[in-house]
Amino acid sequence: MSYIHADNLVKQYGTGEATVTAVDGVSLQIGEGEFLAIMGESGSGKSTLLSMLGGLNSPTSGRFHVNGIDVYALTSDERADFRKKSIGFVFQNFHLLPYLTLAENAMLPLAIEKASRKKKLAVATDALARVGLHGKAARLPNQISGGEQERVAIARAIVNRPPIILADEPTGNLDTRTGAEVMKLLALLNQEGTTVIMVTHSNEYAHCARRLIRLSDGRRLGEETVMEKGGTNISSCRAA
């Protein structure tokens, strides 16, 4: 079985005639350390699929395993623990907490860890430095640019070093140059061994991934390999 294995995932909302099928029988196999892009038009079900891959959204039917763990067979608390250890989320709208400093936002996932504040701060500062925000730890989110906010969101996602990063339209609210910098950052993380699954409707940024799948009306249309395994895509993202 591959590292991430989704088998015939279906997600329906509503009942009876009002039933809407957001994801319709999608199967996926993603290897450890892969960089997968999911593309599709608005309403194609890509965000719903991503939330199911993140253990946030129980499928109506189908099975989903990560590293052999049947994620949706876990209890609510076990699934929360699974997310804490295994998944880092990067949201489209950053979703930083406006009342916390950048360092505090970055160390948010550590709030439930038993460690000293000093240690947590050191880890968060290191994560901020990795995304190029060294020296801005004490600022509030409204004191930095959109691109920097996205970087903080990435720092928050990687602060506890999860093996998987799920990014939903990480460049959606950014200009081209800033978007490219964020993509380069994700590519770097992938190069360091993190599995990255990214939803995007940008063809350019999708090509930063090694593999690309397309969705339409909740169904998987096809797949293309952008780059052979082991290749680096940092330069191509820089070009983007």
Partner: protein
Amino acid sequence: MTLKTIAISNLRRRKARALFVLAGLLIGVSTVVGLISLVKEMKNDINHKLEMYGANILIVPKTENLSLTYGGMSLGGVSFDMKEIRQEELRKITSIKNAANVAAVGPMVLGPVTVGGHRVLMAGVDFTAAQILRPWWVPKGKLPAEEENAVVLGANASRVTGLKAGDKAKINGRELVVTAVLESTGSQDDELVFAPLRTVQSLLGKQGRISMAEVAALCTGCPIPEMVKQISEVLPSANVMAIQQVVKGRMETIGHFENFSYGISALVLFVGCLMVFVTMMGSVRERTVEIGIFRAMGFRKSHVVRIVLLEAGIVGALAGAGGYLAGIGATKALLPLFTEGHGPGGLSFEPMMAGAAIAASIILGIAASLYPALTASRLDPNEALRAM
């Protein structure tokens, strides 16, 4: 960064909501503290006034005869075969458990004498204790000292005998000076001739013996029935009685005040809790996305509950402290309106009440926030992050 940091930071950010919750609890706590303090001070005031009523425990010799007097009127010529108590036995009262609550003990010896050709009842009293036991006495003249050969006449006794302050009266062959005449009291005291205890004991040949004793024991927290029992135990030859009308009246008045204050307190606290509940529910709805982020990052439901309850607890603690101070302040301001002359001088910082106010406020804040906290924890993280 801990859950406490998140809770405190959120309170700082949402100051208006935090202040609203604070106000709800603060008003509730200050009302309760204010009412309890007010009732306590009013009880003190009432007790102070009741003490002015004088004795409230009577000690009389045990007898098998029933009294044939009512309202000061004697019905039938029943011989007055009185037994007596040994005066030294009264000292045992100082050994009872509640001895500290005894304000005064007034021994009294009674006996008929002839003054100016009139038969009157003479009472030997301790005039120092009498001033506590009979604060309503208004003497025209000076009350005598313990060993003095002097008498004080009740208003009617003075009128009937024609004696006034400064006159001399011959009683049982002994000449005594009238040092004072009491203004009319409307009680049996008007009919009596009072003299120092030892003087009367000597005149009546009852040295070391007394006819009865009065005890003043009205004060905050005095358990009168318990004290009656304790005195009965140390004076088995005496019949000890509480003046029930005063005691019951006092307890009833205090009871009414307490019931009123508890009722109002419960109502205000309920409204305060409702304010906390509504505000916290609103806060949870406002923070749907934030809660979704927490859950996405691996926070368990219990972590979300803890954040909400921590916020409520912190606000509750502040409201408890503020409510205590506000309640005491309000009592100080209002007390003169509810009492006469007994000002707020007795009000002081009470660590127990302050601690109880803070603890109660925290508990109420948490209790009122429990449902909003559970609602927050039950939020579907995917629904919460719909914008994701």
